[in-house]
């Protein structure tokens, strides 16, 4: 049995209906695991008055109904959860894997050349960096449960667009700073779009609405633009369930 190394934490006030718990270890992996396991624990308790928890990289926002519970009570409850984590068994949590076909550049990735130019490398090299690693889903973010991931090992962090786009299409594959993401739904966005997957990521007719969870693993694979329509309308599903061209 492998045991979680629980990172030290700080709990901050965040208005009358939320607390922010921040893990402050030097080890970012421990921070990430701690806030996600804490969120899982809080969710699984189903405690009345707790709306839920939003874990990201090193922090978790705990939302509650201040009529039913007080911030002080929730704080005590969070501390209890952190103690419980010391006994949590980590070995059973095997990640699932997803294969994401992407058409890079052109109309599918309007910022590919800009990113290449800024990095001082060719567009092929940008694609090689992007397809050349596995990505752990760090958290589900805005908009619409986007998989937030640590980005490719580019020479430099990627600056955000000066003029954010009013609408980035669903399936857009984008990078910014040291992060990478897929857009599950069309939304405004300031990240650099380098490609697009033809797969449907979001499906509001099923639960969960997006197929991946924090901790799952994604891989990007280049496909030619002609192949885009072969995948169109298909859902992104974990590899063992996959049956695709």
């Amino acid at each position: 049995m492998s045991v979680l190394t629980v990172a030290p934490t700080e709990i901050h006030e965040c208005g009358d209906s939320a607390l922010r718990v921040v893990a402050i270890s030097e080890a970012s992996e421990d921070n990430w695991l701690t806030v996600h396991r804490l969120a899982d624990w809080l969710e699984s308790c189903g405690a009345e008055g707790l709306h839920g928890a939003v874990p990201t990289y090193d922090s978790v926002l705990v939302e509650f109904d201040p009529i039913m519970v007080s911030a002080r009570q929730v704080r005590a409850f969070v501390k209890l959860g952190l103690l419980e984590l010391h006994h949590a068994d980590e070995s059973a949590k095997a990640p699932r894997e997803f294969d994401v076909p992407v058409v890079y550049g052109g109309e599918y990735g309007p910022d590919l050349e800009k990113v290449a130019e800024y990095q001082g490398i060719s567009t092929e090299e940008v694609i090689r960096f992007h397809t050349g690693k596995t990505y752990t889903v760090r958290c589900l973010g805005a908009p619409a449960g986007s998989p937030m991931m640590d980005g490719p090992a580019f020479p430099k962090p990627v600056p955000r667009l000066k003029d954010p786009r009013l609408s980035v299409p669903a399936g857009a594959v984008a990078v910014a700073g040291r992060q990478a993401v897929i857009a599950p739904a069309a939304a405004p966005g300031g990240w650099c779009v380098i490609g697009q997957t033809p797969l449907s990521v979001l499906n509001i007719r099923r639960e969960p609405l997006v197929p991946y969870k924090p901790g799952d693993i994604l891989r990007f694979r280049q496909i030619p633009a002609e192949a885009f329509s072969d995948f169109a309308g298909m859902d992104l599903v974990p590899l063992e369930l996959e049956a695709r061209p």
């Binding site: 208005g15 009358d16 926002l61 939302e63 973010g141 908009p143 619409a144 962090p157 700073g177 992060q179």
Partner: protein
């Protein structure tokens, strides 16, 4: 028996509820009625559960008619409510006869009105809520000709003399106007703004026309961040006050993206969010610093008023037989006058 309500003039209206509380965990904003007090009050006055689907009407005039008798309640910003051409009271239950036109006009001093129908409205749900989510493309934006379905009909309750208003439940109405005072508590990142953070409490801010259910943009003197490091994306609460640009303050409301990378200077309290829900472009906002304990106490006082209202409504409706059909048909109307 169910009834059909035909929307004749939709204005800018949606079917919503108190919000998608399970959404943030999955990256979806909570959304739901922006003025939670008014929405709860409307449902309570209509004899519904607080979280039942109801209509949120923003700024523009609205008109509907039903093929069955209804009991409704309209709350929120001041407006002119007429039923079959007769002026009716806002913030009270109102009887509507089949075929009568319900008209909401001239929303002023605030921005949003809430219309609840006894028996509630049928609505699709996503993660347990009917609240629209514009990003994932869920929800019911009302159009001319949209038909809403309610599950209950209520035989008209009328004062037999002069058709005077029948109910006087006397709920305290929130004060509205163009000078708003909004309570906030210190945000978790207040230290990043150094002394300039105090500007939030000494300056006056003007509500921009680019404000919506995601967030309000406010012009005025802006606190400045003293640190400049890249911030990791974090969950941000509804009510977060951020300074994303040099032009405007951003106050996130219920449609906010659940994660963001800007430091949180302050957080608007639950009661303060209801005030901001009614802010019109051009209104002036002053922020007042409070503590979490005081904010919670204020929120609980306001909810206690709604609980008192619920008891009055239960008593009156019980006497009238509303919500318990078998007795109702036998009760003479005069019994309630």
């Amino acid at each position: 028996m169910s009834g059909a309500i035909l929307v004749q003039q939709p204005g800018n209206s949606v079917v919503t509820d108190l919000g998608r509380f399970r959404g943030p965990r999955f990256g979806l904003p909570v959304n739901g009625a922006l003025d939670q007090y008014s929405a709860r009050a409307a449902n309570i006055l209509a004899g519904n559960l607080d979280n039942h689907p109801l209509v949120e009407i923003t700024a523009l005039d609205f008109r509907m008619t039903a093929n069955t008798d209804l009991l409704i309640a309209v709350t929120g910003a001041p407006l002119t409510l007429t039923v079959g051409g007769r002026p009716c009271s806002q913030w009270e239950p109102v009887s509507v006869r089949a075929g009568e036109s319900v008209s909401i006009r001239g929303i002023h001093r605030g921005l949003r009105a809430y219309l609840a129908v006894h028996g509630s409205l049928e609505a699709e749900t996503l993660l347990g809520s009917a609240a629209p989510d514009t990003v994932v493309g869920f929800g019911l934006q009302l159009r001319e000709g949209t038909t809403l379905v309610t599950r209950r009909s209520v035989t008209p309750v009328r004062q037999p003399y002069f058709d005077l208003p029948l109910f006087r439940l006397g709920l305290e109405r929130p004060s509205m106007g163009s000078d708003l005072s909004v309570d906030v508590t210190d945000g978790p990142d207040v230290a990043e703004f150094g002394e300039s953070g105090e500007l939030l409490f000494t300056s006056e801010y003007a509500v921009s026309g680019r404000s919506n259910h995601i967030g309000l943009r406010l012009g005025g003197e802006l606190p400045e961040r003293t640190s400049s490091g890249e911030v990791l994306s974090r969950g941000v609460p509804v009510g977060a006050v951020e300074v994303p640009s040099r032009e405007e303050l951003l106050v996130l409301h219920r449609g906010r993206g659940v994660t963001a990378g800007y430091p949180v200077l302050a957080v608007v309290t639950s009661t303060g969010l209801d005030v901001l829900a009614q802010a019109r472009p051009g209104d002036k906002v002053r922020f007042r610093k409070t503590t979490v304990a005081e904010a919670t106490a204020a929120h609980r006082r306001s909810r206690a008023q709604l609980e008192t209202l619920r008891e009055s409504v239960n008593t009156v409706f019980g006497l009238l037989g509303i919500g318990c059909r078998p007795q109702w048909q036998d009760l003479p109307v005069a019994a309630c006058s």
